[in-house]
């Protein structure tokens, strides 16, 4: 049987001043680790939630994003008649969308940020079921009216209900605020596509993308086959949710890599903290260890016991690190979406699995910091250490 766990618990408690250094180092590292990952997770979740598995997104063939895409009005008409597209009382559920960038000052700093302005069809709410008007009303087609996402409403100056703001060559009245369920659309401004393109001196027969409601999730394949084999069209068809998942990849990779690097550097420091704590624990308890060995506890038992102790310290550190950043959960921040160069608001997303990853990371640091001191403890010369004062 191994050395009792009580011994480790009480030893850590008795030497808490030494253990606290390691706990603090590990807690800080885990805090940064979890915060970074939650940032990446939140960004990805925001973009992924923008897409629906019931929608298909159609862009120009080879386009990597809406910003590099172009779909003409003639193509839109062909798409509307394609198989697999759901139909509403007013015809096919298709929204041909013009995507523009407008510099609007941030409320927090007063500096301009790129806001994605999307010209959408009047039936867009039937296609994007997750979007609903929470204040005011939907814009009226043909009028210079806009509705703004809830994040755009709170993040930028001038996007409050009833206000008028200049976009392009026209003045627009904010007539509604919509809630897109925390998706990227919450950072956007929507209006009539024809008026918006006119305000920016763009042809009103040219769109960036077409989003179509599928008659069923399985209808994507026939739609895709029909559109990609039509010689009149040059388009790519993707399930909307997959499109947005792909859009999130570059930024999440960047955040994860940078966050991982910072956490790694901090982890080196934390491991040295743990090493220091555990080496001093071994040095302070030479006689205790030798007594255990004399009583018949083997070297592996001693190694295991000190590893448990290191794991205990790192577990507490990991737990504290997780608790410290837990309050970040749901806090909204924003960054540039590299795919569209628009400002995108998103929230830190701390999930239970992320917390588990944080604690596991802490325990890995504990093992690294505890292993060598544990081996040293097991190798103490018993006869000499027994007589240590």
């Amino acid at each position: 049987m191994a050395i009792p766990l009580t011994y480790n618990f009480r030893s850590v408690k008795a030497r808490w001043t030494s253990a606290i250094v390691a706990v603090a180092g590990i807690a800080g590292t885990v805090g940064v680790f979890v915060a970074m990952l939650s940032l990446a997770k939140g960004f990805r979740a925001t973009l992924v939630s923008s897409g629906s598995p019931d929608n298909a997104l159609i862009v120009r063939g080879g386009a990597t994003s809406e910003m590099t895409s172009g779909v003409g009005l003639d193509s839109v008409k062909i798409i509307q008649d394609a198989p697999g597209i759901a139909r509403g009382p007013n015809g096919p559920l298709v929204t041909a969308e013009a995507v523009l960038m407008a510099p609007i000052p941030l409320r927090s700093t007063g500096t301009d940020a790129n806001v994605e302005v999307r010209g959408v069809s009047p039936n867009v709410l039937e296609i994007r079921k997750g979007v609903r008007i929470v204040q005011g009303r939907m814009f009226t087609p043909g009028l210079a009216e806009i509705v703004v996402g809830k994040n755009a409403n709170t993040t930028y100056s001038g996007l409050t209900l009833g206000n008028t703001i200049g976009l392009g060559t026209m003045q627009w009245k904010v007539v509604g605020v919509f809630d897109a369920g925390g998706s990227a659309f919450d950072s956007e401004v929507w209006g009539d596509p024809h008026l918006l393109t006119a305000a920016y001196n763009r042809p009103d027969t040219f769109f960036q993308s077409v989003t179509a409601r599928l008659s069923s999730p399985e209808a994507l394949t026939p739609l895709k086959d029909a559109l990609t084999t039509d010689p009149r069209l040059n388009v790519d068809v993707t399930r909307e949710i997959d499109y947005y998942a792909k859009q999130s990849t570059r930024m999440t990779t960047l955040i994860t890599t940078l966050g991982g690097f910072v956490a790694f550097v901090m982890a080196i420091g934390a491991v040295f903290g743990a090493l220091n704590t555990m080496y001093s624990a071994v040095a302070d308890r030479g006689r205790e260890i030798a007594t255990m060995r004399a009583l018949g506890f083997g070297g592996p038992s001693v190694v295991f016991s000190f590893l448990i102790e290191a794991l205990l310290i790192s577990f507490v550190g990991g737990l504290l690190g997780c608790l410290a950043v837990l309050r970040l959960n749901g806090v909204t921040t924003s960054t540039i979406n590299f795919q569209t160069f628009s400002n995108l608001a998103f929230a830190f997303m701390i999930t239970p699995s992320l917390l588990v990853e944080g604690v596991v990371f802490a325990m890995v640091m504990g093992v690294l910091g505890g292993f060598f001191p544990a081996v040293r403890a097991a190798r103490l010369p018993v006869a000499t250490a027994l007589r240590e004062l």
């Binding site: 009792p4 009580t6 255990m292 004399a294 083997g298």
Partner: protein
């Protein structure tokens, strides 16, 4: 019966033959034990005395399997321990040796009960059996009412009693005492020695003890002196050197 001339048959509980121990210090070789012989029977109580550096503790460490000799053999209850691997020796210690240290060597963060229970954690005893053994051992040393006390809450004499309880709880083959009264006042020392005597006389324990104190040594059945790496008998008479070489 205790003999140091290597003439005993193989029935002794502890049989030491031609024991040598040499240390290297700064390139110089120091021979602490030089072909030492010893035979101890079950129920014997022997005290080892000698000046500092004479090798008393070295001998105790070798007998307890805490150190390995440079040459010679130690056989305990038929098992020769001198060629055992480290892990075998650890297991052997758990089964055969009860240690009583001068500084008690109790684990400060564990209660008296938990300290005494430690050796039993290496056995296959169930939790309830362990409890019975621990309670009995603590009752034998007169500390049944101090089970939940931590070492810092006990006097030196009480701490040493807990150490004795820990040493006897697994019923080892023999007890090794390294200056068991060295850190105690005379009254406490007398009480501890009375307890050790009781273990020998009432419970038939075999005890090997190192001490500087002739009063303490006088409580043993036999006192052996370590001089120049050899054991010489010395209780009640002038030490008589016993040749040891080639006696195995």
């Amino acid at each position: 019966m205790i003999r140091v001339d290597g003439s005993s048959d193989s029935q002794s509980l502890i049989r030491v033959r031609g024991l040598n121990k040499t240390y290297s210090r700064g390139g110089e070789k120091i021979q602490v034990l030089q072909g030492l012989n010893l035979d101890v029977d079950k129920g014997d109580f022997v005290a080892f005395m000698g000046p500092s550096g004479s090798g008393k503790t070295t001998l105790l460490n070798l007998l307890g399997g805490l150190d390995v000799p440079s040459a010679g053999s130690i056989t305990v209850a038929g098992d020769e321990i001198t060629h055992m691997s480290g892990s075998k020796l650890t297991q052997w210690r758990a089964r055969h040796v009860g240690f009583i240290f001068q500084m008690y060597n109790l684990i400060p963060v564990l209660t008296a009960y938990q300290n005494v229970e430690l050796p039993l954690l290496l056995t296959k005893l169930s939790g309830s059996d362990r409890r019975k053994h621990v309670e009995t051992a603590l009752a034998v040393v007169g500390l049944a009412d101090r089970m939940q006390h931590y070492p810092r809450q006990l006097s030196g004499g009480q701490e040493q009693r807990v150490t004795i309880a820990r040493a006897i709880v697994s019923d080892p083959t023999f007890l090794l005492c390294d200056e068991p009264t060295g850190d105690l006042d005379r009254k406490s020392a007398d009480e501890i020695m009375a307890l050790i005597e009781e273990l020998v006389n009432r419970y038939g324990k075999t005890v090997l003890m190192v001490t500087h104190d002739p009063v303490v040594a006088a409580r043993a059945h036999t006192t052996l002196h370590l001089e120049k790496g050899l054991l010489v008998e010395g209780k009640g008479s002038s030490p008589q050197s016993v040749l040891a070489g080639g006696a195995a």
